[in-house]
């Protein structure tokens, strides 16, 4: 299962040795695909440490519910809290409250605007994802010698800021090459909306040269729509890096030629960092005695060439 390949209890160095017992509170939204992998990874990682106890609460359907769930979590006085908020800005107040109560907060993926609201933040690079996708597409099209290419984009849930960031990165990367998006549809991170939006996009662009789809999970639907429309004149780039997508890239029998990562393995890292914070340790490969404040993962581009190295990280 993906959880085992994405977790890793440090097996070398002093940090691996069991230390002081740490209770980590954890909260992330429920869902499928990438979000589900976040929770699974966190749980698996915690289970790998004998000195970590994980207390998790489901985040509920929205920020308000997550706030209420976190209140019950905080009242149980964990040593550290790791949380993937529905929305960083909406839960900023909770971060402040927890930090003031002396519980360090590790923000996972969706940043708090207020630096006082978290001890450490580990997140993917949404803007960078868009940039990687844009650069890859631009390079491919240039190599093919296409002029005035028609580029489509299938975004994720449009009301999320991360979607906006991804699209912004994509747009600006394309702009540096003098390209722009011809049509952008927003799906909802589910296979059926991916299929429906892709079907309409294909209809709107009878001829297309490249397509970026933000999320590999909804990408299953997007690929189905492409197959149903019998279209293959363009290249497609995915997002996040699901195992199915990486395997498809490796097999190279669909339009999907690459995917830009946004790995849920960050949840595992977050648990590791929380443990170190709880034990007052630093990261053993760094000189610093404490865990750093910000970690932003780079978004890598997986292509046929390097797919084999990433396939076991796919979720």
């Amino acid at each position: 299962a993906p959880t085992t390949t994405q977790t890793k209890a440090a097996d070398t160095g002093g940090n691996a040795a069991p230390g002081k017992k740490v209770t980590i509170g954890f909260s992330a939204p429920a869902g499928h695909g990438w979000v589900a992998a976040i929770t699974n990874n966190a749980k698996a990682q915690a289970a790998a440490y004998p000195d970590v106890e994980l207390k998790s609460v489901e985040a509920g359907p929205d920020a308000a519910a997550q706030r209420a769930a976190l209140a019950t979590l905080l009242s149980q006085k964990p040593d550290v809290i790791v949380l993937l908020p529905h929305d960083g800005k909406e839960l900023n107040a909770f971060g402040l409250e927890a930090m003031q109560a002396g519980v360090p907060v590790v923000n996972l993926d969706r940043a708090f605007p207020d630096a006082l609201a978290y001890r450490t933040q580990i997140k993917g690079d949404n803007y960078g994802m868009g940039v990687s996708a844009g650069n890859f597409i631009a390079a491919q099209l240039k190599a093919k010698g296409v002029t005035n290419p028609i580029i489509g984009e299938i975004a994720g849930m449009d009301e999320l800021e991360l979607t906006q960031e991804r699209s912004a990165g994509f747009r600006s990367a394309l702009a540096t090459h003098g390209l722009k998006v011809a049509n952008r549809r927003a799906a909802r991170f589910t296979v059926d909306t991916g299929q429906a939006e892709a079907a309409q996009l294909l209809q709107a662009l009878p001829k297309m040269d490249a397509l970026w789809n933000h999320d590999d999970d909804q990408g299953v639907g997007v690929l189905a729509a492409i197959k149903q429309a019998n279209r293959s004149e363009f290249i497609m780039v995915g997002g996040a890096g699901s195992r199915a997508a990486i395997e498809a890239i490796q097999a190279d029998n669909t339009v999907l030629k690459a995917t830009v990562t946004y790995s849920p393995s960050m949840a595992s890292s977050a648990i590791s960092l929380a443990r170190l914070i709880g034990q007052g340790k630093g990261m053993s490969d760094l000189v610093e005695l404490q865990v750093p404040k910000e970690i932003t993962l780079a978004s890598e581009t997986i292509t046929k060439e390097n797919a084999s190295a990433y396939v076991k990280l796919g979720f």
């Binding site: 429920a30 695909g33 449009d158 296979v191 059926d192 299929q195 079907a199 309409q200 996009l201 209809q203």
Partner: protein, 346 residues
Amino acid sequence: MKTAKSSPEPRTSFWRGDGSETVRRNLGLLGVLVVLIAIGVVTRPDLYSSSQWVGDNIFSILKLASVVGVVTVGMTFVIIGGGIDLSVGAIVALAGVWSTTLATQSFGAGGMIFTAITVGVGVGLVNGLLISYGRLVPFIATLAMLVAARGLAAEISNKQTQVSANTTINNIASAKLLGIPLLVYILAVVVAAGWVLLNRTTFGRRTVAVGGNPEAARLAGINVRLHTMLLYALSGLCGGIAAIMLTAQANSAQAAMANLYELDAIAAAIIGGTLLSGGRGTIIGSLLGVIIFATITNLFAINDLSAEAQNMVKGGIIVVAVLVQQFRFKSVTRFFARNSKITTTT
């Protein structure tokens, strides 16, 4: 002069009772549809100049409408029968997930279809039991079912997207017969069957009676509870069929799919003239409602409208569509009313 007075009789008799209002409503909806398509032609003449593309686009709209359309047929029955089914989207998801488990897929396409339909009907029967015999309010019973069925679907799928490896199923989405997509045929068959069932059978008559005045229906000897239960089973059946169609289209199923289809279906039925309080509605109206929504989506897609603009315009279009419908109706009656007044005073 006296004879002139009674002249409007024969003319107005054409408009009397008997569903002509319904026909007028549906004509109004058709008008809205034509306007939407005209807007498409005007805004994207380049696309509409290719007849090949136009044909493809019509089918793309109909394919988009097909899944919700099937669900809406069942929903229309439930609403006419005085109920509401908030669980249809969840039924689609549960049926889809259940029919794409590895175990089920090993039975092939037949096994998957059988599973989806059994799950759909089964969940519908539970809804029906809770409502008919447990006397739960339909809104609450099906809301509870929505929550529970999606939860069960997530449990079964372990929150993963389950890919359908069955090419027969997947081909349902791409297959064509005489140039027309199979999905469109399925929609047509379900709509036709729904129409016949509602308008030509005792089941349909009972549905109208049960929704229009349950007490009267009961006192006329109709088994209201049993019938109510069957209505939810019917809605579940439609959900099962839709699950297969959606799974085929997405080549996969997951617990979150068909999200809020219940709202789409209810909205389409109501736009189509179905009374939310029961006792009145038409299958054709519901179909037109679904197609109008799909056409709006298509219109936005081909014009690359952003989601927020899309939403604002969509709200406006819905309002205007209903107003247009009513305007037609009113202006006609007003016209006749005026007419008959003139004949009286002269």
